[in-house]
């Protein structure tokens, strides 16, 4: 179609409008195409990442069991002041919940939840419900007759407290604290504290592992980057081969190497360095975790370092040398600063991977080499206290985000480079 141009050389208003329309239409089409292209990835991330994290955040405070499965008593307790034992109407509400909950087979869910707050609540609830035939009016008398604990005011305070739909009790637990039936929060006795200790251990051991990978990975990457391509490629395969090997295989090989009856100890005994009775414990403790994880995570340090080092022009170091710098000065003042982005990228990669590790510590860490991830897995699979697992997971997530924020402020985002 011909474009009509008026005498001044400008497009007529109708033409302008039409062109604009064409332009925006084709832009829109492009946009739709782009959105369609990324849609699978966005959907994937939504389903496998954003959704589970949201689920975890909700679960860490969600508290549906008691108010869903013991609705009558939860409602009745709202007006109770907690000064003395509740009156008959509240006992009657409890009786109704127990009898109905037993029939619907849901009372066990409430009992499980209440047992997290105080041991013995499970058998109190399920045991009373099982004797449902004995629950008769007047309920107060009959319930206390079945189980004495129904005459204990703390029992009622716990039910009232746990009846709220949202709870902070998982976080209180995750911070090694306890809440009394009256709602006072204090630190748990020393011998019951565990999570903060494990968080701290996870952080410092991850830092140590990161440091070890820098220490071991830097010279290797340097060698790889400065050798001729042909030799470097062969060496690169040596780096990648363990990287391609199953994590479990690598971890198990460390067990074979390091255990007290293992190869390394046998060798030391044979060489006479140690006596047969004084074999060194190198596995099932913190040493085992650090050694195995350093080995497993080493490629994550070497690969970014190598790709950054490849881009450093050798002429810079030569220029420094020709201007009179010693070998060391040229390396330290000219070469190293140019590899900092690679070290940063490798360090953050290794650190964040190791802080969430749990298979390797579980296999070779014994007790002193256990990470917080092992406790989260334990609460997911064994104790089934998913609320607590979620609360610990949220704490780990917040910690990683905080460390990352601090890191990018100190180091700067632009200093992180993968190649």
């Amino acid at each position: 179609m011909a474009i009509t141009v008026d005498s001044t050389g400008d497009l007529s208003p109708e033409e302008q409008k039409r062109l604009k329309g064409d332009l925006s239409r084709s832009l829109r089409q492009k946009k739709i195409r782009a959105i369609l292209l990324v849609a699978p990835l966005v959907a994937f991330i939504l389903v496998t990442f954003i959704f589970p994290i949201g689920n975890m955040l909700v679960r860490s405070v969600d508290n549906p069991q008691v108010h869903t499965y013991m609705p009558n008593v939860t409602e009745a307790l709202k007006s109770w002041d907690g000064q003395e034992l509740p009156d008959e109407t509240i006992y009657a509400a409890l009786a109704k919940d127990l009898i109905e909950g037993r029939k619907a087979k849901t009372i066990g869910k409430a009992a499980t939840r209440l047992n997290y707050e105080k041991s013995g609540m499970r058998s109190l609830i399920t045991g009373t419900a099982r004797k449902h035939k004995k629950i008769v009016a007047p309920y107060k008398e009959s319930l206390i007759g079945i189980k004495k604990k129904w005459g204990d005011i703390d029992t009622w305070k716990i039910i009232k407290k746990t009846g709220s739909p949202v709870t902070g009790s998982f976080f209180i637990n995750a911070f090694d604290m306890v809440e009394s039936p009256d709602g006072e929060i204090s630190f748990a006795p020393e011998k019951q504290q565990i999570y903060l200790k494990l968080f701290w251990r996870t952080v410092w051991m991850s830092l140590l592992i990161t440091f070890m990978t820098v220490l071991l990975g830097y010279p290797v990457s340097f060698l790889l980057a400065s050798l001729p391509m042909k030799t470097a490629n062969i060496l690169m395969i040596l780096v990648l081969l363990p990287f391609w090997t199953s994590l479990l295989v690598r971890t198990s090989s460390w067990i074979a190497l390091l255990q007290t009856e293992g190869i390394l100890n046998d060798l030391l005994v044979w060489l006479g360095v140690i006596s047969n009775e004084a074999r060194v414990q190198m596995i099932y403790n913190a040493i085992g975790t650090v050694v195995a994880m350093t080995h497993i995570l080493l490629p994550f340090m070497i690969l970014p370092l190598y790709s950054v080092m490849k881009t450093v022009p050798p002429s810079y170091v030569r220029a420094a040398r020709s201007l009179g710098a010693t070998n060391w000065t040229a390396f330290w003042r000219v070469y190293v600063p140019q590899t900092v982005p690679g070290v940063s990228a490798g360090a953050i990669l290794v650190f964040i991977l190791s802080i969430g590790y749990y298979i390797t510590p579980a296999l070779v860490g014994g007790e002193s080499g256990r990470f917080i991830g092992n406790m989260i897995a334990y609460h997911m699979q064994k104790s089934l206290n998913w609320g607590l697992a979620a609360a610990l997971g949220v704490m780990l997530l917040v910690m990683v985000l905080a460390i990352f924020a601090l890191y990018s402020r100190v180091v700067g985002d632009n200093k992180v480079k993968l190649g």
Binding site: D62, K105, N115, G120, Q192, I194, K382
Partner: protein, 364 residues
Amino acid sequence: MKKTLKLSTALVLGSVVAATAVQAADSITVVSWGGAYTASQRGAYSDPFTAETGITILDSDQAGNGLAGLRAQSEAGNVTWDVLDILEGDSMLACDEGLAVELDYNKDLNAAPDGTSPLDDFIPGSLNGCFVPTIVYSTVIAYNQTAFAGDKPSTIADVFDLKKYPGKRALEKKPDANLEWALIADGVPVGEVYNVLDTPEGVDRAFAKLDTIKDQVVWWEAGSQAVQLLADGEVSIASGYNGRIFDAQVNEKQPFTIIWDGQVFELDGYVIPKGAPNMKAAMDYLRYATDTQRNADQAKYISYGPARSSAAPLVSTHITTGIDMGPHMPTHPDNFKTPVKKDPGFWADNKDDLSERFNAWLAQ
């Protein structure tokens, strides 16, 4: 919020087990413990069942997280398991929480050959509404004969005697059995163990006793680890499941000896998950596998005592080596002198607290 939770749980946790959901209608998924144990069930129950009915059995080794899986599948509304092998204590929780099918024992199970009803034939009190026990298994102490030249350990107290019986110990990484043994070693009579453990002082006492060997203990988590540690010579004494130790003694000719003193025995058996996809076939399997003859047959493969009293006299010899199984059973009179019956009620109530204390104690 609840709906979102359900949906996302369905996606996250359900997807793990959903992989097993794709199956033909003529097969059922039976979840058990894996290793030598699943092999014994295959030999005694599953293979003959398939031969008779044509229904294939898909084995899944996820019983270690059975209750967790049951809860996740139920919350997600997508149950994929047909039969679950579970411990008595966990079966009580599953039943109380409405995760397992309630059974009408006299109708759903076969009577003994002499006509004794199931309710009278199974171990008294073990039929708790949803659960059908198949075996009695024991957590016992065993030692490697090569570790002790002269005097060999013979009691639970010896396990805690590092001077007389040096060497590392391998114990299971959970409070169950360990706390009971600590008290027995400290002089508490077997019958009093749970009364003492039910008091704060008793718990302190048990942990204090465990403290005396703590730095010599390697903690294991999977049943096969205990046997491995003992065979490797990493430890001289280990706790373990008696069937696994038997397996190592007989099939691998390991020089292990079981100390039956203070054996902590427990029941293991089946529940049917509520909403099992192939309910009818699952119920058929349950009836078949808990029949007196099958129950006795399992003892040909592994040294766990049958849970039906009518099956006990039918226990014969080991299928490959031909040795007499009787003396290897935890319930054999010679072995059953000082047993501790693991109290499922006590552990259902106190597991959360004691596990937390145990984990904190480990981390110290």
